[in-house]
């Protein structure tokens, strides 16, 4: 097991380098001269004086060949130095660590909602298979799958914030403000979970040990929690990993709509403002978070399966 974990960890090295390379080259090849943009930010009234521009270009090292520039940036990143924002002059990593908390909180709220909705509805759907409950749930899941999350977000803002005034529509003042965006994220990701849970439960229900459990005198609810749940955790974890990744991606849009100060909001405004160090740094960091989540899920597999976990060392 240790071997597998170490193996997985080594495999992220080339991935990290690739992410860094892509993040850097996207910004490098995008139109516009960083020196000129930085100069405008520093001195909006100054115009484009060629001598000053040359000075800025030299300062940013823009004359160096592509790979030298990449190397300079990447060694900085590895040392924790992502450069400074053109716009504000603040170090990028400070900004990042301030904002990542909001994004993670939002993503995990979304994940919690998605699991809660997915497992509950999946259970109901399987328990009342082919009844009107099941049909209704399956119908609504297909509809929900085809609704884009930004539309759902605007709809929820209209209903719960503007009309009912239960939640605020914009900004972050208390953890309560995470509920609405979290719900939107969770809902738009839960359809797959509902389907997966339903299929898995139905599959397990037809196996012999479930009959055995009934013979033992367990109720259906007890059978679900004591027997079935253990056997469907693995596929649920797999999908949870995928969901979490897509939620961190999806948070980019949701954060902007709800005005949460997460990395998504900042990244979008940085791209619009051509704030190169911020854009590159945040793109890279996004990539790393996703790689880390996948690594975590891989390692988790090894622990969840009791047959792997205990091996022969178990004791009664």
């Amino acid at each position: 097991m240790k071997k597998i974990i170490i193996n997985r960890m080594l495999m992220i090295v080339p991935t990290v380098i690739t992410i860094a390379f892509l993040a850097f080259s996207i910004m490098y090849f995008s139109p516009g001269n960083p020196a000129e943009i930085l100069m405008r930010y520093r001195n909006p009234e100054g115009g484009t004086d060629p001598a000053a521009l040359a000075h800025y270009e030299e300062m940013l090292g823009l004359d160096d060949p592509f790979f030298t520039q990449f190397e300079n940036w990447f060694t900085g990143v590895l040392g924790g130095d992502f450069g400074e924002s053109f716009k504000t002059g603040n170090p990028v990593n400070e900004e990042f660590f301030y904002r990542i908390g909001y994004t993670l909180m939002l993503s995990f709220t979304g994940l919690a909602f998605s699991l809660l909705i997915g497992i509950t509805l999946g259970f109901l759907s399987a328990e009342f298979k082919d009844s009107w409950i099941d049909n209704f749930l399956r119908f609504t899941q297909s509809i929900k799958m085809s609704i884009p999350s930004f539309w759902l977000a605007l709809f929820f803002i209209y209903v719960f914030a503007t009309q009912l005034k239960w939640f605020s529509a914009f900004g972050y003042n208390s953890p309560k403000d995470l509920i609405l965006p979290g719900l939107v994220l969770g809902l738009s990701n839960s359809s797959r979970m509902v389907r997966l849970v339903r299929t898995c439960i139905l599959e397990e229900k037809s196996s012999g040990y479930v009959y055995t459990a009934r013979v033992k005198g367990l109720s259906e609810i007890q059978i679900f929690f004591k027997h079935i749940l253990k056997n469907i955790t693995l596929p649920i974890i797999t999908l949870t990993g995928v969901s979490l990744v897509s939620m961190i991606g999806g948070s980019l849009i949701i954060e902007n709509i709800f005005g949460l100060p997460g990395i998504g909001t900042y990244l979008v405004s940085a791209i619009v403002a051509k704030d190169y160090p911020v854009s590159m740094g945040f793109l890279f960091a996004y990539g790393i978070i996703i790689v880390l989540i996948n690594l975590f899920i891989d390692v988790l597999y090894q622990f969840v399966d009791p047959r792997v976990r205990d091996g022969a060392n178990a004791e009664i």
């Binding site: 012999g208 040990y209 055995t212 033992k216 056997n231 009664i316």
Partner: protein, 266 residues
């Protein structure tokens, strides 16, 4: 001990029609304390459906099930759950009979916890489990394993230990040995037989293997297409079958390989 009277189970053929398919039709039998009724018949003739009805995992469409003199046909699930310890089942497929994610020990002990015979992980429970596995011929090291790490025969032994742990009054064995090889078959049948002598439970033993049924049963019922064709003393049914279907079964049996009845009896 257990009585089935005029049991039928049918399904509607489609959602709208009134046509129904009968899985089992008008079946009656009774099994006394300490007695084994063998049920033979081809695959798909409704044996397993009958097993599920006899244990009330399934409700019959018509008919009555009496257990210990009480009618249990219409008991609710909740009421039935309290009865469960008295009625136990062994299923055919050892691969799925036990939860693959639960250790053998807990699989055996769970039923005693449910019926509040022993509390979880107490010394009493451990002693009882160890006693049981000795009876069924497992070693202590098997207890910490998961079902996937045991052979089919070992799993069925564990299932048998679970069945015996609650001292049931009625056991349904639905082809418990059909997936096992012959020597293991004989051993498990012997354990079942010995346990019956000691605990005096009634047993419905279902199989398509006449040799196996003959070895364990006091009486035999022959079933085909949902109906019991004939029923009687084991030797009489095996040696002097009356119906065409039974005659063919017995003919095939004598032509085929069979389990040595004496091996099980001793």
């Amino acid at each position: 001990m257990i009585e089935l009277d005029n049991i039928s189970k049918s399904y509607r053929k489609n959602i709208f029609g009134n046509q129904r398919t009968d899985i089992v039709k008008d079946i009656s039998f009774r099994i006394k304390k300490g007695e084994t009724l063998g049920l033979i018949g081809a695959s798909g003739c409704g044996k397993t459906t009958l097993a599920k009805i006899a244990t009330r995992l399934m409700k019959p469409t018509t008919g009555q099930i009496k257990f210990d003199g009480n009618d249990i046909t219409e008991l609710s699930e909740t009421e039935m759950r309290k009865m469960r310890r008295h009625i136990q089942v062994m299923f055919q497929n050892p691969e799925s009979a036990l939860n693959p994610r639960i250790r053998i020990y807990d699989s055996i002990a769970e039923i005693m916890r449910i019926h509040k015979i022993h509390k979880k992980n107490t010394a009493d429970e451990k002693r009882k489990v160890k006693e049981l596995i000795e009876i069924v011929g497992l070693q202590e090291e098997h207890l910490i394993r998961y079902p996937g790490e045991l052979s089919g025969g070992q799993v069925q032994r564990a299932v048998l230990a679970r069945v015996l742990s609650v001292d049931p009054k009625f056991i349904v064995a639905d082809e418990p040995t059909s997936m096992l090889d012959v020597s293991v078959q004989a051993q498990i049948l012997k354990i079942l037989k010995d346990a019956q002598k000691e605990y005096q439970f009634a047993c419905l033993f279902i199989s398509h293997n006449i040799g196996v049924v003959k070895a364990v049963s006091d009486r035999i019922a022959v079933m085909n297409e949902g109906v019991i064709l004939e029923e009687g003393e084991t030797n009489i049914i095996v040696d002097f079958p009356k119906t065409e279907f039974a005659k063919e079964l017995m003919y095939n049996y004598y032509a085929d390989f069979y389990v040595d009845a004496d091996l099980v009896a001793n």
